[in-house]
């Protein structure tokens, strides 16, 4: 949480991080928020359906199903591609629902035709290039169930100095 004292008319972010571990099927959690408002605590609710075999999901298969953007050498890692393969027999629209806006942008195609593969791209912001983080992005499909998929995006930086130098230099020739 950015701040715990919020002036009248102001707002703050509350980030809920959920570790999927070895959970099976659908898991629901309701973190409780206690304030000086009085009355009962307020809750936010999250739900996740774990996929034991993320390489064989339906109606799409995401490759990779979790994105590792770690950087251990001077070679700059700022963008990664993600393939979305439509394994159903209907064309699907894709809507990006949520992502860690402070850390990366997502270039997401608007649709994927039946049996076809499209590419999405994750691009890390220059100002977090030397940071280690674990975030995610969520997209929704236009199938009957409005299926949602969340792709974890992880970055570990061990060679921070090199990453920072590269970022400052623009990384180009």
């Amino acid at each position: 949480m950015e701040k715990t004292v919020i002036a009248v008319g102001d707002s703050t972010k509350l980030e809920i991080i959920f570790s999927t571990r070895q959970y099976k099927k659908t898991v629901k959690k309701s973190p409780r928020i206690k304030t000086n408002e009085g009355g009962p605590e307020k809750r936010v609710r999250i739900s996740t359906t774990m996929t034991a075999r993320p390489d064989s999901t339906y109606p799409v298969i995401n490759t990779p199903y979790k994105v590792d953007m770690s950087q251990f050498t001077e070679k700059k890692v700022t963008r990664k591609k993600l393939e979305i393969t439509n394994v159903s027999d209907e064309d699907l629209e894709i809507s990006l629902v949520a992502w860690a806006e402070d850390y990366f942008d997502v270039k997401m195609p608007k649709s994927v035709r039946a049996g076809k593969t499209v590419e999405a791209e994750i691009v890390i912001h220059e100002d977090v290039i030397d940071k280690t983080f674990e975030k995610s992005l969520t997209f929704e499909l236009s199938d009957e169930k409005h299926s949602r998929f969340t792709i974890p995006v992880k970055r570990t930086v061990r060679n921070v100095r090199a990453a920072g130098t590269r970022a400052a230099g623009g990384g180009g020739k």
């Binding site: 949480m1 715990t4 004292v5 919020i6 002036a7 009248v8 008319g9 102001d10 707002s11 703050t12 972010k13 509350l14 980030e15 809920i16 991080i17 959920f18 570790s19 999927t20 571990r21 070895q22 959970y23 959690k29 309701s30 973190p31 409780r32 928020i33 206690k34 304030t35 000086n36 408002e37 009085g38 307020k42 809750r43 936010v44 609710r45 999250i46 739900s47 996740t48 359906t49 774990m50 996929t51 034991a52 993320p54 999901t57 199903y65 979790k66 949520a98 860690a100 674990e134 975030k135 995610s136 969520t138 929704e140 299926s147 949602r148 998929f149 969340t150 974890p152 992880k154």
Partner: protein
């Protein structure tokens, strides 16, 4: 209207005015739930909820406990 009645009315009016002007914090969470859909095991997923202070006094977040 005698003095006692006037005093009583004045007292009640004062209480009502004071009572209605006590500043109170208020929390608004526009999006209260989020569905991640399918997610792989052994990984971390995250979502940001926005908390708004819409009362007329400063809002303090005292604690956030996992549910």
């Amino acid at each position: 209207m005698n003095k006692a009645t006037k005093a009583a009315i004045l007292a009640v009016a004062t209480l009502l005015i004071v009572g209605s002007s006590v500043a109170a914090p208020r929390l608004l969470i526009k999006e209260e739930s989020f569905d991640f859909g399918y997610a792989p095991q052994n990984s971390k997923v995250s979502h940001v909820f926005w908390l708004y202070s819409i009362g007329d006094d400063t809002l303090k977040i005292l604690s956030v406990k996992p549910g």
